[in-house]
């Protein structure tokens, strides 16, 4: 690519993060450090029943064992400075009135923050058909549309509320898809998670709203550890969207969430993520470490779980939303757009574990690298012995912008049943000077040209996003690539 194009790319990539600001509110925060006392404090602050505390403590002990013996997982294609887990505050909650009946009782500072982020927390959302469970730092501050959902028997609330009001459901499903023994960060999350969302859709109910949660990290040096659990009972359907933005911080912030999905017989879960955490500055200072464990279990026959993610933020992304296809004829899908710009690193992909007969999975991954960004696709497709008639289709495409970034692909395939049918397609391309010139010759600016090429590249994934968020995702991609020829 010509040096002029490179300069333009640089200009475009070096745009400042548009959502960097800090909200000043009083916080209730625990001292730094990780030990049993802190866990007991978190559990007590949240008024949890005994079983939760016990579970947290078991997770903590397991984490200590892992830390002693092996430490963090080292296999990912990312580099970062060691994390001092004793130098992190594991609990911080905005101080406010305990019960929220209406938006009037919410700290106006918080509302202003949401406004800046463009999160519609008012009645207009109702018209838009979006119910929002907004997590501000660790505590859920507002939940809307509960009444409407409750009419249909749908439970959509913060995890803390679920623990209090629906302990049986939590007890039955918590840790059944991602046990605390799963990995280092899952163990950490199980021990210290402070909130998140809980969804239960009863038998035969088609959830009429897109359920949506916006997360936001606010308190300085507070790791955020959410935990989300979604259970779709027999024959039900739910679509869930998680979106995030985070303000500028100098210190790296650890974000280790866990999401568990359970789909019973004939149930369907669609889980979409738009992730735009602070990516760090141009030199790679600051930014979120996004170490997330997301997994769904198609426990029942004919069930379906579909992950769609648009990952444009975070300094480091370590994330493999997967599906355990246990029920016969169950279907798993993974559609991903991951963008790394400046010094961002992403190691992301999926795991599809075929256990039941005639299980099918589809993987479509689109990685975009710009600046000095490093983008890795890592995927596992495993066909177990009993998974007769299993099928997988994988498509992995990488797009490079500029000549200082990298794209890497690590597809693992493990087939133990000879009837399996596997397809794998991969491509790597680069936004060429000729493509850009063609579009510019038709009157588009370099920025618009890049945006058009990238959006075209991501189209098959955007198509999977709920309508109202597809537009947002396109815009986000444009913003994230501004100054990168993207």
């Amino acid at each position: 690519m010509s040096s002029q194009v490179d300069t333009t790319i640089r200009g475009l990539t070096e745009q400042d993060y548009k959502w960097g600001f800090i909200t000043t509110i009083d916080e209730d925060r625990a001292p730094k450090g990780l030990n049993e006392e802190i866990i007991r404090l978190i559990s007590a602050r949240k008024g949890e029943p005994e079983f939760m505390l016990e579970w947290r403590l078991r997770a903590l002990r397991h984490w200590f064992t892992l830390e002693r013996e092996k430490g963090e997982p080292k296999w990912a294609n990312v580099t970062y400075n060691p994390i001092d887990y004793q130098d992190i505050t594991y609990y911080s909650a905005p101080k406010q009135k305990p019960v929220i009946e209406s938006l009037d009782s919410i700290d106006p500072e918080i509302l202003r923050t949401y406004e800046k982020l463009g999160i519609p927390l008012d009645e207009q959302k109702r018209l838009a058909g979006v119910a929002v469970d907004a997590v501000f730092d660790s505590v859920s501050v507002a939940t809307t549309f509960k009444a409407k959902l409750a009419e249909m028997g749908v439970i959509f609330c913060s995890f803390s509320e679920a623990v209090k009001n629906h302990p049986d459901l939590v007890k039955k499903y918590l840790g059944t898809v991602v046990p605390y023994t799963d990995n280092f960060f899952a163990a950490l999350n199980a021990a210290v998670f402070t909130d998140g969302s809980f969804v239960y859709v009863p038998k035969g109910v088609r959830c009429p709203l897109e359920l949506s949660t916006y997360f936001r990290i606010n308190a300085a040096e507070t790791g955020q550890f959410e935990r989300t659990l979604i259970v779709a009972d027999e024959g039900s359907y739910v679509s869930y969207l998680e979106g995030c933005t985070a303000p500028i911080r100098d210190q790296n912030q650890l974000h280790a969430a866990v999401v568990e999905l359970v789909a019973l017989d004939n149930a369907q879960i669609k889980y979409s993520t738009v992730q735009n955490w602070y990516p760090g500055d141009k030199e790679g200072r600051g930014g979120i470490y996004n170490f997330v464990t997301k997994r769904g279990k198609c426990a029942g026959v004919n069930s379906k779980i579909s992950w769609t993610q648009v990952e444009t933020g975070s300094a480091i992304t370590w994330k493999y939303p997967g599906c355990i296809l246990q029920g016969d004829n169950s279907v798993g899908e993974f559609y991903s757009v991951a963008l790394t710009n400046n010094r961002q690193q992403a190691d992301t992909g999926t795991k599809m574990i075929h256990i039941g007969k005639n299980t099918r999975s589809t993987i479509v991954s689109k990685g975009i690298s710009a600046g000095y960004g490093q983008n890795t696709y890592r995927g596992l497709v495993k066909i177990m012995k009993g998974a007769t008639g299993a099928r997988n289709f994988t498509q992995c495409d990488s797009l490079l912008i500029g000549d200082r970034c990298g794209a890497h692909t690590f597809p693992y395939i493990d087939v133990r049943n000879s009837s399996a049918r596997m397809e794998h397609e991969a491509s790597t391309s680069r936004i060429g000077e000729n493509q850009l010139f063609y579009l510019r010759q038709r009157g588009l600016t370099t920025e618009d040209a890049v945006s058009m090429i990238v959006n075209g590249f991501c189209k098959t994934v955007f198509r999977e996003l709920p309508m109202e968020f597809a537009v947002e995702a396109q815009k986000l991609l444009g913003v994230s690539l501004e100054g990168s020829v993207g």
Binding site: R442, G443, I453
Partner: protein, 256 residues
């Protein structure tokens, strides 16, 4: 006032001088053709006029509507009414032809301070242009040039030209890779777009295209300079004599 005035233009690609002093004036409504052997600089001239940044102008001047064209970016030149039909149109996967066209039209309109064209205004003009190029409407929902045949790509270029209504159109080897039927369709499309307000520069290696698009002037480019200029009859002469004369002339002109 002339539309385009090229004065003593020198240009290089990757350090090699390709154009070595081109002079050319084009008035509104005129169709000029540049012919010449391979490597004579025809395409370089086209790319320079479209402001491709990988082509470096080392000296000389280009005035377009009295403005310094060499100060314009490619998108500015486009918005000022310069259109190039590419010899090798590129593919843009995932972006439909119709969407791409509307984006291009609206980029130009925005530059001119005009309102955006909405789908309602777009559609009738679009259908008209499709008919002109004998193109299937289905092609328009497909990604830009992706999976198009060579002929479809070239027709698509002229379709864009019809939609964008440029003041100055550069056709860079539009005839290459076309069979006779496709060539006829493309040429008919181009002829339909001839008007007193629109000038064209038709670049071709072969005389064949000029049977269909009859230019007002023909210039023969040899080794980076215009060696001969004349009327449409020059094409026939070149068809008979080839470029051999021109090449030997340049060789003779080289210092021993």
């Amino acid at each position: 006032m002339s539309l385009l005035e090229i004065k003593d233009l020198h240009a290089s690609v990757e350090g090699h001088e390709i154009l070595k002093g081109v002079n050319l004036t084009i008035n509104p409504g005129e169709v000029h053709s540049i012919m010449g052997p391979n490597g004579s600089g025809k395409s370089t001239l086209a790319q320079v006029l479209a402001r491709r940044e990988t082509y470096e102008v080392t000296s000389g001047e280009i005035l377009y509507q009295g403005k310094n064209l060499l100060e314009m970016k490619p998108e500015e030149a486009a918005c000022e009414g310069i259109f190039m039909a590419f010899q090798y149109p590129v593919e843009i996967p995932g972006i439909s032809n119709a969407y791409f066209l509307r984006s291009a039209i609206n980029a130009v309109r925005k530059y001119r301070g005009e309102d955006e064209m909405d789908a309602m205004d777009f559609l009738p003009v679009f259908r008209e242009s499709l008919k002109l190029l004998d193109m299937d409407e289905k092609l328009m929902n497909r990604s830009v040039n992706e999976g198009f045949s060579g002929g479809e790509k070239k027709r698509n270029e002229i379709l864009q030209m019809a939609m964008l209504q440029p003041k100055f159109a550069i056709l860079d080897e539009t005839d290459s890779g076309l069979d006779i039927d496709a060539l006829r369709i493309v040429a008919n499309g181009v002829n339909a777009l001839r008007s007193p307000q629109r000038s064209m520069l038709v670049i071709t290696h072969y005389q064949r295209l000029l049977n269909y698009i009859v230019p007002d002037f023909i210039h023969v480019l040899v080794d980076g300079q215009i060696a001969r200029s004349g009327g449409p009859e020059l094409a026939q002469e070149l068809e008979e004599t080839g470029y051999g004369w021109a090449e030997s002339e340049t060789q003779q002109a080289l210092p021993a």
